[in-house]
Symmetry: C2
Subunit: 417 residues, 2 copies
């Protein structure tokens, strides 16, 4: 870098805070950002991040897919595209969603820069400051961050080993409305939830849909892991039962690869135009190149087999993780038993502060995400999330063993049995 | 599409408007959206869209760049990446900006999904409802749309054939402040402006920078066309003179290809963290795949020569467009003479309504964008934008000839001489 000047740190310009928008006060670094930087060091076993394991992806095949795409159709692939997303990919997305019982029209699909952008757009069209969003307790850290930027008030709804509890949802709605607040939507991840790893059974899906339809609350169904069930297919998507009140979010990040940044929203017709306009204002259009790369892959390659390979790879890792937890973890810890996806949620005795344990875990060469990251309200300090998706099985075992040592030491120091 | 159901149009759910956020009222279809759909028909000469002409891009080379990227580095290219953007690409971006006199540190660069996303993020951190954004008159339609979604009040500042007029800027600032409104930033396109095609000279750049620094108004310098000057290099970027008060937006859409959706913002250090957090909330991270495709291209290919080929291609088209305007257009029309970029701004007698002429132009097989699209306040009805970037020179001549016929007919009917 010949042109790299010396940097003079000058601090914030005079009155800068006053020059920001009100919402900027909510843009603070996530507590797990610095953790991920440390966790990516090679000597650390990272059970922290949710990076898909791409070792199962045949790179020669992907390389020839993108090469052929540009040779055959470069003038389209490298040009601006439609704000709503490429029509051919939107058709293929409908075919993929049919695997989970969804009957959808490509006109109601909006392709986004990963499903994170869909979350952003939905927040944009719905959330005024202080509006309430209902979310599972715990919930996906990236969704919480987005809701916070739109100045929503997040209300957590209790879960158990079978996901969101319908009665808890009824109570949360009643209490929120009694407090005079507007509820904009329920956000949930029914399949192999992030971070809890639990699966919402079909009956609960129906019950939750009934509640939300009756209460006029949109359901935002986030489903990145639905095709990654280990032993049997996931129950039908909630959107399969209700096309008018469910906003469905999908992603290729876990079924193909996240580096393309292609996700989508399938929305009730009444919302489509606003979402497309919001997306055009946000990014003009999604990348034709990455959309068509995925489209070519879906058209020409055995993508169902590829998803099965991914699921198999993750199942092996889930098995090792659960075996290692059984073998090494203290008896007064409990954890979920995921039937798919990437994550296990561990609950320790309430005296243990999993944030405070992070540095000790790093010294022991293992990283995880403390439970508080998945709550908007500071709860979760004696929980943690383990991701088994990325490391090798041997490393997972090693990491869980190391972490159990850290936890047992802490319990001993605190005389917890 | 086996799974495509019949669609039942049910209209908006009960009270839907009340369920949207306040800002959603500003999400309306752009007046030029339907125009672009018509303009893309093959029989129409489109002088409407700003699609780069990719005929100068060697597709075999691009195909092998992306193939090699996945073969050599697929595990990184197809994985999640940094929210701020890939460090190697951020270094190369600094090298490219050095061509316009900018000395920058890669730490201050944020890679975005096209520079449209940078516009969105800047709006997000700065704009509260009713805050004022100063923009050129006329200005880029996509920026106006974004400012509208953030509920800004857009105040246009007069331009002449040399771009924004510094005295008009002084007056606009004084009048806006006298009305008790907060000004958040000045947005401008100094090089070959969209839609006016004009170039802001170096002395005006300095004067405008001085005004804005003194008045504590950030300058958002949008520069997609800066390297596409036809006869001599553009003046130094405004950011080259002021690293503390200028937010610079760049893009590879016009120098390489828009289908990658890679742009960037170079920001004062004081803004970087908020912008990165806003971007992570919006898209998690930009695509590693498209970033590394561009990075490989910049590292291994003669990209300066490629930009020179693009400039040559556009210069030929600019020449034909100006010759055709001289030859065919009525004497009481005036137009700008772009020294680079994609656009010519045509001003007709004020009795002519260029919106009303669109259907007649389409019948005559030519499309343009009416001037009102580039104003937030309904002004511009007797102006229009011509894009010469995409059609062949023969088609440009044909289109301008056809359009002149439509305009002359209208003038005759209205007895305008």
């Amino acid at each position: 870098m010949k042109n790299e000047p010396a940097r003079v740190r000058t601090g914030l310009p005079e009155n800068l805070t006053q020059r920001f928008a009100h919402r900027a006060a909510h843009m603070k670094p996530s507590e797990i950002r610095s953790l991920f930087a440390v966790a990516s060091r090679p000597e650390i076993v990272s059970l922290a991040g949710g990076m898909p394991n791409l070792s199962a992806l045949p790179m020669e095949m992907m390389a020839s897919v993108v090469q052929k795409l540009i040779l055959d159709n470069g003038a389209e692939a490298l040009q601006y595209g439609s704000g709503q997303g490429h029509p051919r990919l939107r058709e293929q997305i409908c075919e993929m969603m049919a695997l989970e019982g969804i009957r959808a029209h490509p006109d109601d699909v909006i392709v986004t820069t990963g499903s994170q952008q869909a979350l952003d757009l939905i927040s944009r069209i719905f959330i005024d400051p202080d509006d309430v969003v209902l979310v599972e307790a715990p919930s996906y850290v990236g969704a919480l961050g987005t809701f916070r930027q739109y100045e929503a008030k997040v209300v957590h709804v209790a879960m158990d080993d079978h996901g969101l509890i319908p009665d808890a949802l009824r109570e949360a709605i009643a209490a929120t409305r009694a407090a005079g607040r507007k509820i904009k939507f329920l956000y949930l991840i029914p399949n192999y939830q992030n971070p809890a790893g639990v699966l919402l059974p079909a009956e609960r899906r129906t019950e939750i849909l009934d509640i939300c339809r009756e209460e006029k609350i949109f359901v935002v169904e986030d489903n990145p892991y639905g095709l990654l069930g280990f032993d049997k297919p996931s129950p039908n998507a909630m959107r399969a039962e209700d096309s008018e009140n469910v906003i469905y979010l999908g992603s290729f990040s876990k079924t193909i690869a996240p580096g393309f940044r292609v996700g989508w929203a399938l929305v009730p017709q009444s919302l489509k135009e606003k979402l497309v306009i919001a997306s055009e204002s946000s990014i003009l259009c999604p990348s034709n190149f990455t959309q068509l790369a995925i489209s070519s892959y879906l058209a020409d390659q055995p993508w169902r087999d590829q998803i099965a390979s991914f699921a198999k790879l993750y199942k092996v890792r889930r098995d090792v993780a659960l075996e290692s937890l059984d073998k090494y973890f203290p008896k007064n810890a409990t954890w979920t038993k995921p039937a798919g996806g990437f994550y296990i949620w561990v609950t320790l005795p309430p005296e243990i502060d999993t944030n405070a344990l992070v540095p000790k875990a790093i010294v022991a060469k293992v990283a995880y995400v403390p439970g508080t990251a998945f709550y908007a309200d500071g709860f979760g300090s004696w929980s943690l999330r383990l991701s088994y998706c990325h490391p090798t099985p041997e490393r997972i075992k090693e990491g869980i063993k190391a972490l159990s040592g850290v936890i047992k030491d802490e319990m001993e120091q605190r005389s917890i049995n």
